[in-house]
Symmetry: C2
């Protein structure tokens, strides 16, 4: 009644600590060998796979699941480092695009192998193919519902 069943609890706890530990490891490795935080890496990665290598602040903040103000802060850092630049939209003055620079793309490319290696070693390599699919589909659906029905889909801050 009150609490969660053992399996429910295990699933949620595993989700929580898995993410925490993975994030921790990635952050350390990324910082060590390319000077990027995990969040910064994710930001650059999103930009890299976007058309024109650019995204609006709001889309980006949603994509990396971060607050608006937090994203502004990180973009400022990446700007200082020359890895992105800002572009305002002629059509809508309010809109701001973050654009990946060539230097940003380079840095990302250099960081990628280590990052991918870690994901493979720690996550993908440990799951069976069925588990991998279940995670992708199940959690994917969990996400979709939260983004739709939530008042938070757009950005978190």
């Amino acid at each position: 009644m009150g609490g969660l069943s053992t399996e429910e609890q295990r699933a949620w706890t595993a989700l929580r600590t898995t993410y925490a530990l993975l994030h921790q490891r990635m952050d350390q490795q990324l910082k060590r060998d390319s000077g990027l935080s995990h969040l910064q890496y994710e930001i650059l990665a999103r930009l890299a796979s976007a058309p024109e290598r650019e995204l609006r602040m709001a889309e980006l903040s949603c994509a990396v699941a971060n607050s608006k103000s937090g994203l502004t802060y990180q973009i400022d850092r990446l700007l200082e480092a020359g890895l992105v630049c800002r572009r305002t939209c002629p059509g809508d003055v309010r809109a701001v695009y973050a654009v990946l620079t060539d230097e940003g793309a380079d840095r990302l490319a250099r960081a990628e192998p280590g990052y991918v290696g870690l994901v493979r070693e720690l996550l993908v390599g440990v799951l069976t193919p069925e588990q991998l699919r279940a995670v992708a589909e199940g959690l994917g659906e969990v996400n979709r519902r939260m983004q739709d029905s939530g008042d938070f889909g757009e950005s978190l801050g």
Copy 2:
């Protein structure tokens, strides 16, 4: 070769954003109706299910996947609120136990239904039973390996 396959990417992205969104929602709901942050809730919950309702700082920091110094900080907050107290171990002067107070147990009990409801609504209720099991077992194993083989098992700070 270089990058992750589509499914690998979907799984990892889903894991990341699912956790981020769930955390966000929980944090807001918990703060709103019981004045606890998500992390504080987790800390109290661990203590509540520990023998004697107490745990050493290191165990606790490992259990909630947080850094040592971060845990000290949060325990200080919970101390101010009267929800936990500290106890030093007679045998080993270095050891410090965080102990759940009655008031802490009350607060936790009041927060629990909402928390459990959210886990059910947003996570458990969306997954099929097979997916739930796959998440519990798969990610559980991912965890175990990271804690064993890692230099991070003990605490993150």
